[in-house]
Symmetry: C2
Subunit: 139 residues, 2 copies
């Protein structure tokens, strides 16, 4: 089972973007968070079973800042949630897909593994994969 | 209630794109369809409650063809499903948002109303809105 976890949008002004997506369009602002490792401030807007994430660079050196500089604001990446990120990445590798992360990274809270696929292997799309930890239950 | 209906991706070669998204990543190809009005061939890949749509231009004159020419392949637009497209568009207009379609268009099967918001009013994102017709049931 694969689903869209989030669509990430690069913005130059987070306040202005929240004004559009939340105040004007009617989405809900769940939280704002600074991700120091990626040098972005993120606004999380849940929408159905997924989320829209608004990313504003907090410095000039990050990948997101360079993207904004080169391409302007707009759609940045798509994240798909998969059941088995290791198996998926193995299959991608076998088929010659270039991965940005060779092995999944683990989120700070330990609940999520994630990896990026290089846009040149995904038709120009920066594609992220998520796998959430399952609640116990198994044997 | 708002949800992500689809994420549309412009591709230069639909066969190659299907090979990546379906054969390699594991999504399902539901159908392929030519949309003559937009001069594109579309592959529909259901994913959770939404869909990924792969768009390949079938001519050189369409908006999608120009996008591919200018920006290269990649994420093209985001479509949100809303309950009340007329009310949403009214609110957008009151707030000075530029709409590509001033009134909703109706799909050929009559089941869906849709409109595009101009990227310059949506932080660089080409944003589409959908409203599906409700099944009878009312009074």
């Amino acid at each position: 089972m694969i689903k869209i976890n989030h669509v990430a949008i690069v913005v130059s002004d987070l306040e202005e973007a929240i004004d559009f997506w939340v105040e004007t369009l009617g989405l809900t602002l769940e939280k704002r968070e600074r991700a120091e490792a990626e040098a972005v401030e993120i606004a999380f807007l849940p929408v159905g079973e997924g989320e829209i994430e608004l990313l504003q660079p907090t410095g000039e050196e990050s990948g997101v800042a360079r993207y904004l500089e080169n391409r302007g604001p707009g759609l940045h990446h798509l994240c798909l949630e998969v059941d088995d990120i290791t198996g998926t990445m193995e299959r991608l590798r076998e088929r010659g897909v270039e991965l940005i992360n060779e092995t999944p990274r683990v989120s700070d809270d330990g609940q999520r593994r994630y990896a990026f696929i290089h846009p040149k292997s995904a038709g120009g799309v920066l594609l992220e994969l998520y796998e959430f930890a399952r609640d116990g239950g198994g044997d």
